[in-house]
């Protein structure tokens, strides 16, 4: 039997609900979806449809009100530490990159590795290797304000990969970029997936960005309205 066929999906969302304001605002209303390992999925839909809320739940930045989320077959609520989950299972990329402005590029990657098993020297090497993989070797000692928008987003991707996560969660990663930079970032995602086999879930408004994905999942009013079957496994 094919190993990929028996391996659990990267992400499984089962009937998840999320409400705010003591139940007055229902952001997610019974969302269910599955994302295969190594798949690149774009989550699309109008503003306020619940895309980012779902992404935050998957990143363990928030908890669902009801329902289950399984990551690589393990129930998210069963992870002993959400900090460890965020560090080792998923890598986050935000629209506004959320880098630390007082640090250099290489230091921004290194801080994400504090407390992992690598030595100080190993962390430095790993950070430089990641910067090289996102074509930022020549900018490693530049502080964030000195980087362009595209460079910052590439740096954010390098940081997301610091601890070898199997899943990259990206919230509007090209939303603040010009089109040339956006193309560069999407090329980078493509390359990362090819080289590292990571699963990518990307929330976007932008049709061009969404089209780069293997599969689109459409959301509206807190529900999944169109989710084609898992397209491929890597």
């Amino acid at each position: 039997m094919n190993e990929a066929a028996v391996a659990p999906p990267a992400i499984e969302v089962i009937d998840v609900e999320k409400t705010f304001e003591r139940g007055l605002v229902r952001a997610l209303n019974g969302v269910s979806l599955t994302i295969g390992r190594g798949e690149w999925v774009a989550l699309v839909g109008p503003s306020g449809c619940g895309k980012s809320t779902l992404l935050h739940l998957l990143a363990a930045l928030d908890r669902p009100t009801a329902g289950r989320i399984l990551v690589n077959g393990q129930d998210l609520s069963s992870f002993s530490s959400m900090d460890r989950y965020r560090r080792f299972e998923v890598g986050l990329v935000f629209q506004l990159h959320n880098l630390l402005p007082n640090l250099t590029a290489v230091q921004n990657v290194e801080v994400a590795m504090f407390g992992n098993r690598l030595s100080h020297h190993g962390q430095g090497e790993r950070a430089r290797e990641l910067l090289a993989s996102v074509d930022l070797s020549h900018r490693e000692n530049v502080r964030v304000p000195g980087l362009s928008g595209g460079e910052r987003q590439r740096l954010a991707i390098a940081r997301a990969l610091a601890n070898h996560p199997s899943i990259i969660l990206a919230d509007e990663p090209t939303g603040a970029l010009d089109s040339a930079a956006a193309v560069g970032v999407m090329d980078l995602f493509r390359r990362i997936r090819a080289e590292r086999g990571v699963t990518i879930l990307l929330v976007t408004h932008d049709k061009g960005t969404a089209d780069a994905a293997d599969r689109l999942i459409h959301m509206r009013d807190g529900r999944v309205v169109d989710a084609p079957a898992v397209a491929t496994t890597h």
Binding site: L61, D62, N102, G115
Partner: protein, 375 residues
């Protein structure tokens, strides 16, 4: 990059605020160091006085603010000398007189010439004064240096009626209090001070094998106006100033801790508030609450320790200035015990801990999502 490098960088990034906080801490620590050195040095001086003349214990009037105010009668001296086990007893009169504007508090010690050697006086130049000589004085070598006097010079001491003396000798006692004073026959000093038959304190030596504690108790029980002093701890019975200074030292230490802690609290709270988003990012990339907490705490420790180092420097400077003040000449010889610096270090850590614990917890319990959205 090391975790501690990040901590230092975070402190350095806010250098103006960190420096101002450090200066506030430095001032608190400087006060603690100054008071600590002052208290310790005065205690040491007191201990030296107690051990003058190789006395087993000292007797003075009970419950005074300052031992120099003690007033005993010579018949007390005789009474103490009668106790079983007492080998010898020596009476000393202390007067504080004005030499000039720069030396408003100059010590005169009155003692019979025959007891100078027993008292621990070593004549280093000239000779000792004659028993009945009305105009002879000997100066401690420190006093002679400060006054610019030597054997054969004349000196006018501003007693109730200024009187001119001839300096017939220079002496040494081995302790700053005595070496910064002058000595003259006790009868002469009693007459000058209009204190005929009065002494300030007495130094008691006992025979070998005498139960000193029992003897002291007996003297105090039978002479309630007297207090016996054997150790620095007893000194407060005859000199409340030292007790007050010790209490003030303790009070200042606590006050410094509170002021420093509030300063650190203010700085760290502001810092945590400003960096809410940063902490959210760090939590989002996997930092644990503990690591965030330690980051804030270590930043506070870095600021506090920098302030403490400055404070120790300021403290040294303050002690040096105090040492040169006219009121302290002859009374105060600074001594720098390691305990004062341990105390300063402990207070700096205390300031960091008490000042940073609340902001650190606040930073650690931030919900990452809310923190990231913080503007």
């Amino acid at each position: 990059m090391y975790f501690l490098s990040l901590v230092v960088r975070n402190v350095y990034t806010r250098k103006v605020r960190s420096s101002l906080t450090g200066v506030a801490i430095a001032i608190s620590i400087a006060i603690v160091v100054t008071m600590g050195v002052l208290t310790h040095s005065l205690k040491k001086t007191a201990a030296n006085i107690l051990h003058t003349a190789n006395a087993d214990f000292t007797v003075a009037q009970k419950g005074l603010a300052d031992i120099t105010f003690s007033s005993l009668e010579e018949k007390d001296l005789e009474a103490v000398g009668q106790y079983e086990g007492v080998r010898s007893v020596m009476g000393l009169l202390i007067a504080i007189v004005k030499v000039d504007e720069e030396r408003p508090s100059f010590l005169e010690l009155g003692l019979p010439a025959s007891q100078l050697e027993d008292f621990g006086i070593t004549i280093v130049a000239g000779r000792k004064y004659g028993e009945g000589a009305p105009d002879e004085v000997i100066l401690g070598f420190r006093a002679a240096e400060q006054l610019g006097k030597t054997v054969g010079d004349r000196i006018t001491l501003n007693q109730p009626a200024p009187h001119e003396y001839e300096v017939v000798g220079i002496y040494s006692t081995g302790q700053v209090y005595g070496d910064s004073a002058s000595m003259l026959p006790i009868k002469r000093l009693q007459a000058d001070q209009r204190k005929i038959g009065v002494i300030t304190m007495m130094f008691v030596r006992v025979n070998e094998g005498t139960d000193i504690a029992a003897l002291r108790k007996k003297i105090e029980d039978e002479h309630p106006q007297l207090a016996t002093v054997q150790s620095e701890e007893d000194f407060g019975h005859v000199d409340r100033n030292l007790q007050l200074i010790s209490a003030a030292n303790l009070g200042v230490t606590y006050l410094a801790l509170v002021i420093g802690s509030v300063t650190v609290l203010n700085t760290m709270l502001l810092s945590v508030f400003e960096r809410t988003r940063e902490f959210g990012i760090l939590r989002a990339v996997g930092w644990s609450r503990l690591r965030v907490l330690l980051c804030v705490m270590f930043e506070a420790v870095a600021v506090s320790l920098s302030g403490a180092m400055m404070g120790v420097g300021f403290g040294f400077l303050a002690v040096k200035l105090l040492e040169r003040s006219p009121q302290m000449i002859g009374v105060f010889e600074p001594d720098y015990p390691s305990g004062v610096f341990r105390n300063a270090l402990a207070i700096a850590f205390g300031m960091a801990f008490f000042g940073a614990v609340f902001p650190a917890i606040r930073a650690a319990i931030l919900r990452p999502l809310d923190a990231i959205r913080h503007e």
